[in-house]
């Protein structure tokens, strides 16, 4: 069975400082992993995805995530937060070839000017 745990429901950082949003997953099989972002009144937008190629995945807007199988983690990072990064972020796992996405509960990111 697949599941996702986002360890922080809220993260607050100052503009220009690093961002770390944590995600741990469980999966019976080789997973595909994704990060999506939702800005207020917008749809879910794909930030990046891991599908068994390079373990360090680069996404849009300077975000990246590293797949660590030994730690069953897929943490999202960004070196320097921007005000426009304030949004809700979802870590998602899917069994490769499976039908469903399993979402974490989301992490709300606040960026302080």
């Amino acid at each position: 069975a697949q599941s996702v745990t986002q360890l922080d429901s809220h993260v607050s950082v100052s503009e220009g400082t690093p961002v770390l949003l944590r995600c741990n997953y469980s999966s019976s099989y080789s997973p595909s992993l994704f990060w999506y972002v939702q800005h207020p009144n917008k749809g879910l937008q794909l930030l990046l995805k891991y599908t068994s190629a390079a373990t360090l995945v680069k996404g849009i807007n300077g975000f990246e995530a590293e797949f660590k199988k030994s730690e069953t983690s897929f943490h999202l990072t960004k070196p320097s937060a921007h005000m426009s990064d304030a949004a809700e972020y979802f870590c998602v796992v899917s069994e490769r070839g499976g039908n469903q996405f399993y979402f974490g509960t989301g992490t709300s990111l606040t960026v302080i000017p």
Binding site: Y36, G43, S94, G98, F101, G106
Partner: protein, 119 residues
């Protein structure tokens, strides 16, 4: 290219009424999914269409929910009769590749959601 569009964006209805949500996927996407987020909890899978066929409807909460995708284009999700616990945001997503056994490992494109409030 138009993205996934959902209508309406908001709906407020009374308990016992009927509501129909619509999703227009990206043209050419065989896979269409419905998800729901209730009261700030996690986003949960409802069902998956491949073209006009229901591939997986294991997430549908009960028989008050009916999803259709006539002709394999747009989809509707009807709630009849609505209950208070149905309130939440309903997301639709589509993806391009319809593999054997389905799959969302290719990128899925989400709509902005329909916020349903049952009072």
């Amino acid at each position: 290219e138009a993205g996934v569009t959902q209508f309406p964006s908001h709906s407020v209805i009374e308990k016992g009424q009927t509501v129909t949500l619509r999703c227009d996927p990206i043209s050419g996407h065989d896979n269409l999914y419905w998800y729901r987020r209730v009261m700030g909890k996690e986003i949960k899978f409802l069902l998956h269409f491949v073209k006009e066929s229901k591939q997986d409807e294991s997430g549908m909460p009960n028989n008050r929910f009916l999803a259709e995708r006539t002709g394999g284009t747009y989809s509707t999700l009807k709630v009849q009769p609505a209950e208070l616990e149905d309130s939440g945001v309903y997301f639709c997503a589509s993806s391009q590749v319809a593999r054997q056994g389905g799959g969302m490992n290719t990128e899925a494109f989400f709509g902005q959601g329909t916020r349903l409030t049952v009072v």
